[in-house]
């Protein structure tokens, strides 16, 4: 017993005061990208050629656009661009309400908006989520799971991951939705009491990510169930996930 008390004193209070304070990110952390002013030279497609997931393309005005729903934040495009038009920032906030919003063409980004008033009345202070991993590699899962640890302590916001869809207000889906998880995902979704919400976490769940186009997967969750919030990353940083959910609950 004394040992336990001693350990408790040693470990101390470790919950980070988010959202009052912005969490410090590692200096090499790769956050939300932006496209700087300027235009591509000639028919250069270096960024699109090097991108492992097809997230880069040439948009209006001969400028690159980057689809955060596909991006795995490897920075290869940033290095490849001779005109230095692509720049990854340290900004970890990047959840969005639609896939279209995730396509970035300049320095702006439209943050996710809160769910509607009626849903907010129901879920704004208490949100129970069921997690379904559908072909996820366990990185998105791990960085979702970690939200339950004292550092993040998502329970203080009234958010909890529950053991049955019957107890849940919504789903948090990871993975490209493998063919072999399609049925289980559909059944889990149908078992939610209505109204319900769906959150897709990670490049795979948004677009299929690295597995997009494989016949073994369904290129993300949105083709199977309606998705209300998209959280990009490979995997998203835990703060990105938490910030996205809080924004969606209307708590930020």
């Amino acid at each position: 017993m004394l040992q336990i008390l001693k350990a408790r004193l040693h470990q101390g209070y470790r919950t980070f005061p988010f959202p009052e304070k912005q969490p410090p990110m590692a200096p090499r952390y790769v956050g939300r990208p932006k496209i700087l002013p300027g235009s591509c030279k000639g028919d250069c497609a270096a960024c699109a050629d090097i991108c492992p997931t097809g997230a880069l393309s040439r948009g209006a005005g001969n400028r690159p656009v980057i689809d955060l729903g596909r991006c795995i934040f490897c920075r290869a495009c940033e290095t490849a661009c001779a005109e230095k038009l692509i720049s990854f920032t340290q900004e970890f906030s990047m959840a969005a309400n639609s896939k279209e919003t995730l396509v970035i063409a300049d320095e702006k980004f439209r943050q996710a908006e809160a769910m509607g008033n009626e849903l907010r009345r129901l879920f704004g202070r208490s949100l129970k989520l069921r997690q379904v991993s559908a072909g996820g590699c366990n990185a998105c899962e791990a960085d979702t799971n970690v939200l339950g640890t004292p550092n993040f302590d998502l329970a203080r916001f009234g958010i909890q991951f529950v053991a049955s869809p019957r107890h849940a207000d919504g789903l948090l889906i990871t993975g490209p939705v493998s063919q072999n998880m399609k049925l289980a995902l559909q059944k889990t979704y149908e078992a939610l009491p209505s109204p319900s919400i769906v959150i897709a976490v990670g490049a795979c769940a948004i677009s299929g990510g690295l597995f997009k186009g494989n016949s073994e997967v369904n290129d993300g969750a949105a083709g199977i169930v309606p998705v209300d919030l998209f959280v990009p990353g490979c995997p998203p940083h835990p703060w990105t996930i938490l910030e996205g959910i809080l924004r969606f609950m209307g708590r930020l």
């Binding site: 470990q11 366990n138 550092n151």
Partner: protein, 497 residues
Amino acid sequence: MKNTLLLKNGSSAKLENIPVIEAEGFRQHLNVQIQKGGRLSALFLVPGDPQSGLFAIVSHDRTSEIEVFSCSCGRKFNALTPIMPQAHWFEREIAEIHGIEMIGHPWLKPIRFQPKAGQNVEIIPGVTSYFEVKGDEVHEVGVGPVHAGIIEPGHFRFQCHGEKVFHLEIELGYQHRGIERAIPASQPQKIIRLMEAVAGDTSIGHTTAYAMNIEALAGLKPSQNAAIIRSVALELERMANHTGDLGALAGDVGFLPTAAYCGRIRGDILNTTGMICGNRFGRGLIRTGGVGHEIDADLKKAILDKLLLIEADLRSAISLVWDTPSVVSRFEETGLVSREDAVAAGLVGPAARACGVAVDTRLSHTFAAYDRIRPELALGRQGDVNGRATVRWLEIQDSLRIIRTLLNEMSCEKAGCSAKKAELAPDSLAVSLTEGWRGEICHAAITDSKGNLKSYKIVDPSFHNWFGLALALRNQEISDFPLCNKSFNLSYCGHDL
């Protein structure tokens, strides 16, 4: 032609130099090697018409050699499993993907519920025949694919008598994403990213194995500092996962202090990897030919300082486990796997070492920077939950020693990455072994006549170890399943690929 081709870890050979033995001779030769203490690291088929090539990769730990041989295989093959239980999962895999009839195999159930190569038919996962136990008061419990927590999917079916489990059957495949099939058709910049996602919690282990194969085929040699950074990252990966699992084990027996502390400390270790490459799971760190990020003097000091804090927190959190008799009594004698079963089933990693089986690829088939520092072999007294927990705690402490020693040995030169454009040797096979935190990872790459990847085989340690979990549940209380499961903590996607 000689019957043997012996390779060192992370080296390659021309396909024409790989012995091709006729089927019965192949069985006999493989059996002799396994009897002599060899381990079947991989057994896979490269399809061809009319004959396919069946390749065996046998690791000889005492001599640090990897033996490769093959046989040409038609539509039928006399199964190895009856004489060599550790082949059973491999043969099920080959039968499922390629439709080879494995004559004499006890039960060729699908392991992934994937269509046969080249076919595109809808398969309902999990629908197959199962073991059945009949009798009064015998009942069946099915769990999954979707589990109660934030975990990957899989289906577990228990045959129980009251609370006692007679048998646990594990059906996987829900995570199948077609990785092996996608590799030959993908660009190198995508393949290395696929490797990072084979099992997201083992990014460094798998990516290192892939990089070693490409380096062997392209004649590249990473710098000494790159080798050191690879080992440092691999040990951080080991520490993070072992720490998380020790916390989860404590949580599963209701001992919340260690559960809460370890969950957070695991994050601190992941953040240390994040200090090196920006990503908590080491994405982008390992590159063919070297590493993608440098550790300079300032970062080295920052890592070493952080490790001091982490070590103090870890010692405070984890010593509580073995200071608390009620926790130890729940760990001891729970989920017991005998040494004999572990050897026969071909278990690897901490699951095998807990049973007293001395397998550690870092020691037997040295790679990265493990020639500069010898890891301590961590063995358990018996293969129960306590054994597996003990091995993990010993390994965490040894990882700290390895990381510190290696960081202090780094020169001030850049680690760098020697690969510009890697031309791969044509018609060759390369094989690599690494020791991920779950155990041995085996990758085998085969190139075609133009030097393109023709076939790529990945064996995650979970492929060997899932059956070990089934063995651990024999005669256990069903309520101990979460505890047993967490003590192995195997990968679903690493298995399903």
